[in-house]
């Protein structure tokens, strides 16, 4: 099976700062793949290069078999993006946010929107504006929005940051549901328990580099640790949260 995402020697600089430094990784199709690391590790920048909101300075990046540098429109047509920042359309209701997303993608939306309102448990708030939603609902709407074009790959940047435990579990359930439908998930997180619970495979990033990779259990065994926190401390030489 071809990889959903393949990066070779990926580099991204912002002035003198090297945000992503010669990174190689391969995301197999159909799994939940995690990028674990502290803030500033280069996770978000890597995601932005994948979904076309950051230029690739050096290296190769293929997404769903397409060249992410040259085939941006094609790539974006087939992926879904859940950004870290809330960038919902504040002027539109929940349902309209989904309808406009379908419009941007040029896809028919009628049945899909109803399906997504049910899937993300937002049916009762379909006519509400984003400002009237709780943090967890907004996040679920961002997820619903990312699914309108029936993507093969969904990129989620810190999908549960800032959510209370209940809302976090609701998001995890959604992600597990998606994975069981065969959608490839790519998530960034700085929560160990999130990485352990939902990621089939992960890479650990620190200072713009990948410092280790493997399945969560494999990493625990390899470094003889009881949790990923300990693994991170061993491979990075400092705590995950400072």
């Amino acid at each position: 099976m071809t990889a959903a995402v393949r990066a070779r020697g990926l580099v991204k600089r912002y002035g003198a700062i090297v945000a992503v430094d010669q990174v190689d990784f391969e995301v197999p199709s159909g799994i939940c793949f995690g990028f674990l690391g502290p803030n500033g590790a280069g996770k978000t920048t890597t995601m932005k290069m994948i979904y076309g909101l950051a230029h690739v300075d050096e290296g190769e990046l293929s997404v769903l078999g397409l060249d992410a540098r040259r085939q941006r429109r094609e790539v974006k047509a087939r992926i879904g993006v859940v950004p870290q920042e809330q960038n919902l359309d504040r002027e539109l209701t929940v349902r309209e946010n989904l309808a406009v997303q379908a419009l941007y993608h040029g896809v028919r939306s009628d049945g899909r929107i109803e399906e997504l309102l049910d899937f993300t448990l937002l049916r009762e708030r379909a006519e509400a504006k984003p400002v009237e939603l709780s943090g967890g609902m907004k996040r679920r709407l961002l997820i619903a929005r990312a699914l309108v074009n029936e993507p093969d790959l969904v990129v989620l940047d810190e999908p549960t940051t800032g959510l209370d435990p209940q809302a976090r579990i609701a998001v995890w359930r959604l992600l597990e549901g998606l994975r069981s439908q065969g959608v490839t998930l790519l998530i960034t997180t700085h929560y160990m328990e999130e990485a352990e619970r939902i990621c089939d495979q992960l890479v650990i990033m620190d200072g713009g580099r990948i410092v280790s990779e493997g399945a969560p259990n494999e990493l625990l065994q390899r470094y003889d640790e009881r949790n990923l926190e300990g693994v991170f401390l061993q491979v990075a030489g400092h705590e995950l949260r400072e």
Binding site: R72, A77, R90, E96, Y104
Partner: protein, 259 residues
């Protein structure tokens, strides 16, 4: 910058334009009224107030002279508001463009869409005001029926200028310069309130380089009986400047939104 980063997709731009139309259709009552009163008050104060003392300008009743000019400034203000404050808000406050650009829409599509939308809004305001002017009996020529087409060109030109400025500034504070040093002087010195004929030649030269002057020439021509060559010449100026400026926001917004 490659061709793929500069040539817009019309279908993609149309989709963004339709989103704006959808939002506007929900808020149009609140949005339309305030901006619509503005030129109306100028028309009443100057055309019917001052006009009582100034009977004619170059043989044209003063209220008619001013009314035709104000159709142009209504367009300028509407398009300028749209691509200054409104765009800055969408770009920096709500981060709306980040989400739009995560779909198959690219930066240059966004530029085309927003300028087309600014032109659309300008046509809505400008045409409404044109109807008022007609109701006051200040329209002489049946050619006035073509006004919306030319108001759209003027709206696109001011929309593009505003977007170019917006794409280059870091904070909203810069808008006070844009309005006080560019838009307001245009409003006062483009021949809306008095003809430029008897002013020194250099005034004409400066005026020729400003978009509002050309738009005023067009609207006044259409309302009072047009000189087709003059109307088309002024329209060509607006189209050329709008097209030439496209590359500025397309490049600057790409640097800004796709770092």
């Amino acid at each position: 910058m490659t061709a793929a980063e500069i040539i817009p997709s019309f279908p993609a731009a149309t989709r963004v334009w339709r989103r704006n139309l959808r939002v506007f259709s929900k808020v149009w009552k609140g949005a339309l009224l305030p901006q619509f009163f503005d030129p109306l008050f100028y028309l009443l104060a100057l055309g019917f107030g001052l006009g009582t003392y100034l009977a004619t300008v170059n043989g044209i009743p003063y209220k008619q002279f001013v009314g035709a000019g104000l159709m142009s400034s209504a367009v300028m203000w509407a398009a300028t508001f749209e691509t200054t404050w409104n765009i800055f808000f969408k770009m920096e406050e709500t981060r709306l463009y980040d989400s739009v650009l995560s779909t198959p829409v690219e930066v240059q599509d966004l530029v085309l869409a927003e300028v087309a939308w600014a032109a659309t809004r300008a046509v809505i305001y400008g045409t409404t005001f044109t109807l008022i002017v007609a109701i006051f009996g200040l329209v002489d020529s049946p050619w006035a029926i073509l006004t919306p087409i030319f108001l759209a060109l003027g709206g696109a030109c001011f929309g593009m200028l505003g977007l170019a400025f917006t794409s280059l500034i870091k904070t909203m504070d810069w808008y006070s310069f844009y309005y006080t040093l560019f838009i307001t002087p245009l409003f006062l010195f483009s021949g809306i309130f008095y003809p430029l004929d008897r002013l020194p030649d250099w005034v004409h030269v400066v005026a020729w380089f400003t978009p509002l002057y050309h738009l005023v020439q067009i609207t006044r021509g259409l309302v009072l009986g047009p000189d087709a060559v003059s109307v088309l010449g002024n329209a060509a100026w607006l189209v050329a400047v709008t097209a030439a400026l496209f590359v500025i926001p397309a490049r600057a917004l790409r640097r800004r939104l796709v770092a």
